[in-house]
């Protein structure tokens, strides 16, 4: 039962998951731009083409719309494609196939088909790639019934959730923060899955719940460590899936701590934090709130190029520290 555990990077963990999926299931194959001999823009597919051949690690033309549609068509007819977008920003080119086709096909056809496609989206800022290569668009897709949208934060979850996604009968969109690719963490060998739709409490605490996604989970944990020295006991909830969202874990946590801070990289307005906040406001956790709910999200701007400006557009640890202190001390 207990599999040996090693340290792998987030990118290696994803690559391992894809390799295991392809070994186990002949139907699984990869599609994407420059994922073959190039190894993918972020070297996530690496040398998988050598192991599985160009028939199963397919370089597509630069055709995001067509490529996504081919993946959808293959999924509907019995294959299990894993489609890599070079950058999550390019989802904008493929929205038609993702939103109108993949998400709705099962429903439009009254359940006659399933669409077991997995799409991977390297997302987020911090690489100096500026406005068209740094966005966090997960909330866009999180708004679409029929899709499942996940944001693994650790190498362990990246592997386990990707394997869960491949096994899932419905379209699963994976948003992978680019700055996480090199992050190392313990990853069990072999096959395992981490369930989609289940949040994880990364740290237990009494005074404040921080609900974070993706890279913000790590920033929240770092802040929690500092706050602990100040006597502020923070609970960090890693949301992991934004659709279907595990609101119950958040509700239970807020009932315990009475305070909620949402931290996410996507633009603050109409984002994941809005949904988490509303879920609490609508739930029985409302009567447990002892302070206003606070959101820390991305600035209302495109991601700028200048590194200082770029940093300022997304929540950083000092922002989390300040918000947490204000909340717990009653200044907010």
């Amino acid at each position: 039962m207990d599999q040996p555990v090693r340290e792998l990077s987030y990118a290696q963990a994803i690559q391992e998951a894809m390799a295991i999926a392809m070994e186990q299931d002949e139907r699984v194959f990869l599609m994407g731009e420059d994922i073959g001999v190039y190894g993918g823009a972020f070297q996530v597919t690496g040398d998988l083409v050598e192991r599985f051949g160009a028939d199963r690690v397919i370089d597509t033309p630069i055709s995001e719309l067509g490529g996504a549609g081919v993946a959808v068509g293959a999924a509907v007819t019995g294959l299990r494609p894993i489609f890599e977008f070079q950058f999550s920003d390019f989802a904008t080119l493929a929205m038609e196939q993702i939103v109108n086709q993949a998400a709705k096909m099962r429903y439009m056809l009254g359940g006659a088909v399933s669409v077991p496609v997995v799409m991977r989206f390297p997302a987020g800022s911090g690489t100096g790639a500026a406005a068209q290569h740094s966005q966090s668009l997960e909330a866009w897709l999180g708004h679409v019934p029929g899709l499942k949208v996940i944001q693994p934060a650790t190498p362990h979850d990246a592997k386990g959730m990707l394997l869960a996604a491949v096994a899932d009968p419905d379209p699963v969109m994976i948003f992978e923060h680019k700055l996480l690719y090199k992050m190392k963490g313990p990853v069990p060998e072999g096959y395992y899955t981490v369930p989609i739709g289940k949040a994880e409490i990364r740290r237990e605490g009494r005074d404040l719940t921080i609900v974070a996604t993706s890279i913000m989970v790590h920033k929240a944990l770092e802040a929690a460590k500092t706050l602990e020295a100040e006597g502020i006991d923070v609970e960090v909830v890693d949301l992991r899936t934004i659709r279907p969202m595990d609101t119950q874990t958040v509700i239970d946590s807020v009932k315990k701590t009475s305070r909620l801070l949402c931290v996410y990289e996507g633009v603050k307005t109409l984002g994941v934090g809005a949904e988490v906040s509303a879920a609490i406001a609508e739930s029985d956790a409302f009567d447990f709130l002892d302070a206003p709910i606070v959101r820390l999200g991305g600035a209302e701007t495109p991601i700028p190029y200048n590194p200082e400006l770029e940093k300022a557009t997304v929540p950083q640890v000092p922002d989390i520290l300040k918000a947490a202190r204000d909340l717990v001390s009653g200044r907010r």
């Binding site: 194959f29 597509t60 067509g66 959808v72 196939q97 009254g110 499942k148």
Partner: protein, 341 residues
């Protein structure tokens, strides 16, 4: 690229379908063309009576195109269809009763009342679905063809689309990928002359949509879409090529829709004379009936028999649809995701 069209002939020069198919199969084809025509007339009538809501896009006048393309297809072959897709669905083998039930929004419909006219599908006979998005089905067909190739099946996939779709990016991306990967897919452009109100002359840089095949290194074939035999012959060629692993074909089937774009069309962009000409001189069913009689496949009584059988079939189908139950509101959210059992 256009192939020479087969002229009317006798003896050894009989048109393609008279050489390829048995009289019974030819009569079946007429039966299905009538079924498509009467189905759409029945749907139009039910719509007018308020039994069907939303809108619908009728393909009356394009029956030979749908039927001819599907003649060489097996049940295992697949199609993706368009918003003007009733004919494709019936030609591929769907039951009109379940189609009417879908139009009436009933649980016995092909999509359990979730799809309606614009998403009509019958996966069991290989129809992966009509599509509300112009060009939406093209990449999906390529994906289905990729599955066929990867699973080493004999299956071919036909993607129907209209002249409007040839100006969508998805058309170009799909044709390109199908060609570079030599996938068993047949792109069938049913060019009825107008993308909604805009004529191909105003919307499309090339004279023929089939001319665009050259850009993707595949055969481009132009056929008279109202001539069943011509359409079927082109389809046969393309299917043969696809099954042989030689890759895709683009067929342009020039045809005409007798009705407007949808139920809200005021028909201001076409002249009465133009419509009248297509309806009286180039109606695909009339042309086919005449030909069948000319070649002695069927007589007037036989034709009357088919018409009467279809009339009864349509009447029964509408009754079935009317009598079927509507979905429960409580089940609204079913089929969004694959339900775990």
């Amino acid at each position: 690229m256009a192939q020479a069209t087969a002229g009317k002939a006798t003896g050894a020069n009989l048109p393609f379908i008279y050489r390829e198919y048995s009289p019974e199969q030819l009569k079946q084809a007429l039966h299905k063309m009538y079924l498509i025509r009467r189905f759409e007339e029945g749907a139009e009538d039910s719509y007018t009576r308020g039994l069907i809501h939303g809108t619908m896009h009728l393909s009356i006048g394009q029956e030979a195109s749908a039927m001819g393309i599907c003649m060489p297809l097996t049940l295992d072959d697949q199609i993706t269809s368009t918003h003007r897709g009733h004919g494709h669905c019936i030609a591929k083998g769907a039951e009109v009763a379940k189609m009417f039930a879908e139009f009436f929004g009933k649980t016995t419909g092909y999509c359990r009342g979730r799809g309606g006219s614009m998403h009509i599908a019958d996966v069991t006979t290989g129809n992966l679905g009509a599509n509300g998005i112009v060009g939406g089905g093209l990449p999906i067909a390529v994906g289905a063809a990729l599955t066929a190739k990867r699973t080493k099946s004999e299956r071919v996939v036909v993607s129907f689309f209209g002249d409007g779709a040839n100006n969508e990016g998805a058309f170009h991306e799909a044709l390109n990928m199908a060609s570079i990967w030599k996938l068993p897919v047949i792109f069938v452009c049913e060019n009825n002359g107008y993308g909604m109100s805009t004529s191909t002359a105003r919307s499309t840089a090339v004279a023929n949509i089939a001319d665009r095949a050259a850009a993707y290194a595949m055969p481009g074939v132009i056929v008279d879409g109202n001539n069943l035999s011509e359409v079927a012959e082109a389809s046969h060629e393309a299917v043969k090529r696809a099954r042989a692993g030689e890759g895709p074909t683009l067929i342009e089937s020039k045809t005409y829709r007798h009705r407007g774009h949808s139920k809200s069309d005021r028909n201001r962009y076409r002249t009465k004379e133009e419509i009248e000409d297509w309806m009286t001189n180039r109606d695909p069913i009339t042309l086919y009936e005449t030909q069948l009689q000319e070649f002695g496949v069927i007589d007037q009584a036989g034709i009357e028999g088919i018409r009467e059988a279809v009339r009864q079939e349509i009447a029964d189908a509408i009754e079935f649809a009317k009598a079927s139950p509507s979905p429960e509101i409580a089940n609204l959210e079913r089929y969004v995701y694959t339900e775990s059992l």
